[in-house]
């Protein structure tokens, strides 16, 4: 596999529907499941599939993504040869005219030339899944297809493509003549002679493209049959190490049906919720149907129902915040919520 498959993660995507959560970060760096960033899923899948060279193409607000990935050490991608490559794009979108990923790839075409891997897998950065790419590569090689697009059994493209690296280079270099700006353009266009195939994937996979779907996908993690499809011992989802202590449940805590990361201090009630690393929940506080991101501090006697707290939010004692499961109340990163502001 080492010599065969190159991983390419297109992290240039932006979804307007997720705006409240993306003001400080790229979609790839969106926190998920208490301790991960969305990109951890595809990146870990690549590493677990034996891919040793991964290129990530981010755009805009990539500071948090870069901080998260670092040298790639956590994914064992800090290698002398191959490893993790990070190619932020120098190109900025002009109004209403988003630039396709081929344009970003073209800015670093030397990387593709230098790569020795015969095949490439190009993937989006916002799918929650745990997939072994090896059987798909075997399938692709046997099928004789030029491009294999991974489809989900529920229909629909998963926006992941297998292609010979040499053909990918050709497509990137001829983008101006052909008008194809990304892989999607090619598979959706029939005016060419490339042989396009579909590989059907029947495991769990969700693409995060709106707050509503981010919220429901997060809540579904509390169902053990879904949880077990994502977190597999032999194919672990790897993330940045934080060295937090175990979570401490103090007197008065009451927790059920919840996923809780390390480093939390819990003194209140937590139900049907996802709590990230280093969160403090005060005594008498009630947290229901919530996603609480890293380092939030919820003081005593608060009541939160159907709320997404982005990172570093502080909620003053006695504050009540409620949203609905269809439209959860999103509190932006680093803000402070007082009892008097939202009563």
């Amino acid at each position: 596999m080492k010599r065969k498959l190159l991983g390419v993660i297109d992290a240039t995507t932006y979804h307007d529907d997720l705006e409240d959560l993306l003001t400080h970060r790229s979609l790839a760096a969106l926190p998920f499941a208490g301790r991960y960033r969305i990109i951890d899923f595809v990146l870990s899948n690549m590493v677990n599939s034996g891919i040793r060279s991964v290129a990530i193409f981010p755009k805009m607000q990539y500071r948090s993504l870069m901080d998260h990935l670092g040298s790639g050490k956590n994914w064992d991608l800090n290698r002398k040869r191959d490893g993790l490559f990070f190619f932020p794009s120098p190109i900025v979108d002009s109004d209403g005219n988003r630039i396709g990923s081929f344009e970003h790839f073209a800015g670093n075409i030397d990387f593709f030339y230098r790569s020795t891997q015969e095949y490439s897998i190009i993937s989006n950065c916002y799918t929650i899944f745990n997939m072994d790419f090896r059987p798909i590569l075997d399938w692709h090689r046997q099928s004789g297809c030029d491009i294999t697009e991974i489809h989900h059994q529920d229909g629909g493209s998963m926006e992941m493509y297998l292609i010979k690296t040499s053909l990918l280079i050709k497509l990137i270099e001829t983008r101006n003549e052909t008008g194809y700006t990304c892989m999607k353009d090619i598979v959706n266009n029939l005016h060419h002679f490339y042989n396009i195939c579909h590989y059907e994937y029947n495991g769990y996979a969700v693409m995060i493209d709106s707050i509503e779907n981010y919220f429901s996908t997060s809540m579904n993690l509390l169902q053990s049959d879904i949880w077990k499809q994502l977190f597999i011992k032999e194919q672990p989802i790897i993330t940045k190490v934080k060295d937090e202590p175990p979570t401490k449940y103090i007197k008065g805590s009451y927790v059920k049906n919840a996923m809780i990361a390390n480093g939390c201090l819990i003194g209140g009630t937590v139900e049907n919720s996802i709590v990230s690393r280093g969160v403090k929940i005060g005594k008498g506080a009630v947290i229901k149907n919530c996603i609480i991101m890293q380092k939030c501090h919820i003081e005593d006697n608060c009541y939160l129902d159907s709320v997404i707290l982005d990172k570093d939010v502080k909620v003053d004692a006695g504050t009540h915040l409620t949203g609905t499961t269809r439209s959860p109340y999103v509190i932006r990163k680093g803000t402070k919520q007082g009892a008097l502001m939202n009563s």
Partner: protein, 381 residues
């Protein structure tokens, strides 16, 4: 080799035989503690947090797990270009294999390791203790006092003083007398087994000790008394804070229970002095709708469907439905079935406890669960 001002040596070869089956296959410094750590994490993190970047770890008893756990030291930020962590096992010379027969002989046999860094000071530590300490402050004290040796002391309860090495000092903290396990202690200041030596003194006295056929080659029993006899400048550095040598099953259990107090003297949550460990990289803990969790410390990768009360659960533990775990320590990857009752026990790593097992102590003693025990000794629930 780049010169280093201070090099640390961690004695990590101890067997810890009073921990019974827990140390059958691993050295005491590798025993799991606090839901996530191994005992040696505290010493190594103290080094990293004190700015000491050159650490030799002396192993001997059952070193396999400890060696692979320490690796190149990256978990403690000790994977360095110059210095960093070096595991130092006993080795053979042209005539014989020299085992580490005592704490002093272990350091003596690694004088060449120390020499290559041309240190001014050598910090000698034990890998067996649980505490947070700034060695840099101790080194400053040593330099300020122009000491030959500085020994760190902690106040122990008077009735326990006769179990320790007790130091008698003058007002300026100069040590005038050292008594190993005295029956009538004059003092309750006990040695923590932490020493800072000025390099020349260490080298000279370890060589002298090695030549003495009557010596047991131990710092406390042989080297320190010899230094005192020769009127060398030995100073006591008083340490205040949590410090525990978890030598027995009972004390290991107690130290874990200490962490559950709301105001714990050993603050694992202090970001300014983090305790690092090799991260298992497991998903967050999952607390099911059938579970109840009270006053406990739980690590990532756990799946909890039962009731947990005043307990410490390490990474990857599974607890089945209807199971009650009370005042217990459950070590990594243990699988506990449905409808079990476990009270005042330590469950070692990787053990599988079948459905309906009852483990409880009817006296004060803490039960250390073993595979043999599960072979039918305990009746169904």
């Amino acid at each position: 080799m780049v010169k280093k001002k201070c090099v640390a040596c961690v004695l990590a070869g101890g067997k810890g035989s009073r921990l019974n089956s827990l140390t059958k296959d691993l050295a005491k410094p590798a025993v799991p503690f606090g839901g996530k750590y191994r005992i040696i994490d505290f010493t190594l993190s103290n080094c990293a947090n004190s700015g000491i970047d050159t650490v030799g770890v002396l192993t001997q008893y059952q070193p396999l797990l400890l060696n692979s756990y320490i690796g190149i030291g990256s978990a403690w930020d000790l994977d360095r270009k110059d210095g960093g962590v070096t595991v130092l096992p006993p080795y053979s010379e042209s005539s014989e294999v020299k085992w580490y027969t005592g704490t002093a002989s272990a350091i003596y046999q690694n004088l060449n390791y120390l020499k290559q860094y041309q240190p001014e000071y050598v910090l000698i530590l034990s890998g067996d203790h649980i505490y947070k300490m700034n060695y840099e402050s101790m080194l400053e004290f040593h330099i300020e006092k122009r000491a030959d040796v500085t020994i760190s002391l902690i106040e122990v309860p008077w009735d326990e003083a006769s179990r320790f090495g007790i130091m008698n000092t003058k007002d300026d903290m100069r040590i005038v007398e050292f008594e190993e396990k005295p029956s009538n202690p004059k003092n309750n200041l006990a040695s923590m087994g932490i020493y800072i030596f000025s390099w020349n003194i260490l080298k000279e006295y370890l060589e002298m000790d090695d030549r003495n056929p009557d010596s047991s080659h131990d710092f406390g029993k042989d080297v320190i008394p010899m230094l005192l006899e020769e009127k060398k400048k030995l100073f006591a550095y008083p340490f205040k804070g949590y410090w525990k040598d978890v030598g027995t099953v009972q004390s290991l259990w107690e130290a874990n229970m200490d962490l559950l107090k709301e105001e714990c003297d050993l603050d694992l949550f202090n970001q300014d002095w983090r305790i690092y460990s090799v991260n298992p990289n497991q998903p967050p803990q999952y607390i099911s709708s059938d579970a109840i969790v009270k006053e406990s410390l739980i690590n990532e990768g756990c799946t909890i469907e039962g009731h947990i009360d005043k307990s410490v659960l390490f990474q990857g533990v599974t607890v089945g439905k209807g199971t009650i775990i009370k005042e217990s320590v459950i070590m990594p990857d243990a699988i506990i079935g449905n409808n079990c009752l476990i009270e005042r026990a330590i469950v070692p790593f990787d053990i599988k406890i079948p459905d309906g097992t009852v483990i409880r102590s009817f006296d004060d003693e803490i039960i250390l669960v073993t595979e043999e025990m599960l072979g039918g000794l305990y009746s169904a629930y």
